[in-house]
Amino acid sequence: MIGAVTEALSRALALLVGDPQADRAVPPTGFTARLTIFTAGAMAFLAVFAIALSLATGRLADRWSAELARTATLRISAPADQADAQIRAALTVLDQTPGVASARALTDDEERALLEPWFGPDLPLASLPIPQLIEIVETAEGYDPIGLRARLQAEVPGAVLDDHTRWRTPLVAAANRLRSLGWVALLLIAGATAAMITLAAQSALSANAQVIRVMRLVGARDTYIARAFVRRFTLRAALGAAIGSALGVLAVMALPDGGDAGGFLTGLGFQGAGWLVPLLIPPLAAIVAFFATRAAALRTLRSQA
């Protein structure tokens, strides 16, 4: 098993390793060459954008999920004398609820900050009959809001649970939709690239039918001939993809940085390890080109005498 894999690999490598003489059999330039390089480049460029979009929307979805989904608010409206008792009762209930990571009453300052946009900074909170708010942080699994509501109704009559679901769901869904759109675009681009490189390779092969005939005539084996074509196309695809990815990364970098202005939409760019992802494009393009050209070359060769 391992032997077979090793052998397949070493044969693939033998196909790639340069025999500068065999290479000379294939005309070095021409439109199919440019076409291959350009196609690989353009597709790599688009791929960089699609990846950036996917990663950015991924981050966005994560952030929205985290910020919106994992918190809920409990509002307790009770006469001043019962407030403290109800808050304690509510906290006890919450502590016992599976899926609640932590719960704590907001301080006056925090409530004031929340209200400031509407009432200005000088709100005499203490003198107001405003409800007390409790912030609930969920665990990853989340809690059961219906069960919690039922228990609260029994034990803390003045409590109203606001679990933000009606906010959260559509936003996270939208971000996830954008993210999967990015991946779909990426798949499309990869598929289109493979198909175009195959077609470019095949049109190069049929344009070079005479080369193949001559090589066969003078006694060259199929692998000798195929190797020259495969090497050319693999290197061209890798070169094109490298240029395209580099330009793509530069273009992404040149996009106006969103910063975390608003803290809400994340900039379309790479972050941290994300910068390494475009590095994968040229080798992947080369692999695609390798197999596409190899299949095309062997097929073309066999179809000839």
Binding site: Q21, P27, V214, L217, V218, G219, A220, L301
Partner: protein, 223 residues
């Protein structure tokens, strides 16, 4: 070396020839003549494994051509020098490299140097060594193709109309090259319409003349 037994061939329609037998004995020199369209080129292609007989047995160097894989055919080709009727080259490589190509492919590139020069001088292409094949005249192409066919000093030389585009003097010169190779023990098979050439050859070497007409092959034809 190469043997055809009771061979038939058809391009899909009617049979071009049937029951054709031919043996290329080592060291023999044979001419193939016949009207245009009789199937000379087809017959030669059977002899170097470019086409597969639709009937009968073709054996190349003792192997049945029908059972040979593509790599076997490639290896057999290294022992057969072929001049196509329409000479084709690698158009992006200079003439000299094209002529040395069979050595290249066989991994014997190092043998090229001395022979190549001498050979190119003999076929009168010394001045054209650096030209690309599309820049050659018709006769120059044929000479280059012949040089390419003989550079590996193969056991068998098969040439399809190798002098159709060269003048009489030059065709004599090419003939003497082939005669020389035949004297060294190579088997030679040439398709040609040029009766003068065949006559000249017969005066230099014991050549057998085959005639393909109406699907039948006559041997030992008198001119």
């Amino acid at each position: 070396m190469i043997e055809l037994q009771d061979v038939a061939y058809s391009y899909g329609g009617a049979e071009l020839f049937t029951g054709l037998s031919l043996t290329l004995a080592p060291g023999s020199f044979q001419f193939l003549t016949g009207p245009s369209g009789a199937g000379k080129t087809t017959l030669l292609k059977l002899c170097y494994g470019d086409l597969r007989a639709t009937g009968g047995v073709v054996s190349l160097f003792g192997m049945d051509a029908a059972t040979m894989g593509r790599d076997d055919v490639a290896l057999a080709r290294r022992r057969i020098g072929v001049v196509h009727q329409d000479c084709q080259f690698l158009d992006h490589l200079p003439v000299a490299e094209n002529i040395a190509l069979p050595l290249q492919v066989a991994g014997r590139a190092d043998e090229a140097a001395g022979d190549l020069d001498e050979l190119m001088a003999w076929v009168g292409l010394r001045g054209q060594a650096a030209q690309l094949p599309p820049q050659l005249s018709g006769g120059e192409r044929q000479r280059a193709a012949l040089a390419r066919a003989v550079i590996t000093s193969p056991d068998v030389i098969i040439a399809d109309e190798p002098t159709g585009n060269v003048d009489w003097e030059m065709s004599q010169r090419l003939l003497s090259l082939l005669v020389e190779l035949n004297r060294m023990g190579k088997t030679v098979l040439i398709a040609s319409h040029d009766m003068n050439l065949i006559r000249t050859a017969k005066s230099q070497v014991s050549a057998n003349v085959l005639r393909l007409k109406d699907g039948r092959l006559q041997t030992g034809v008198a001119l």
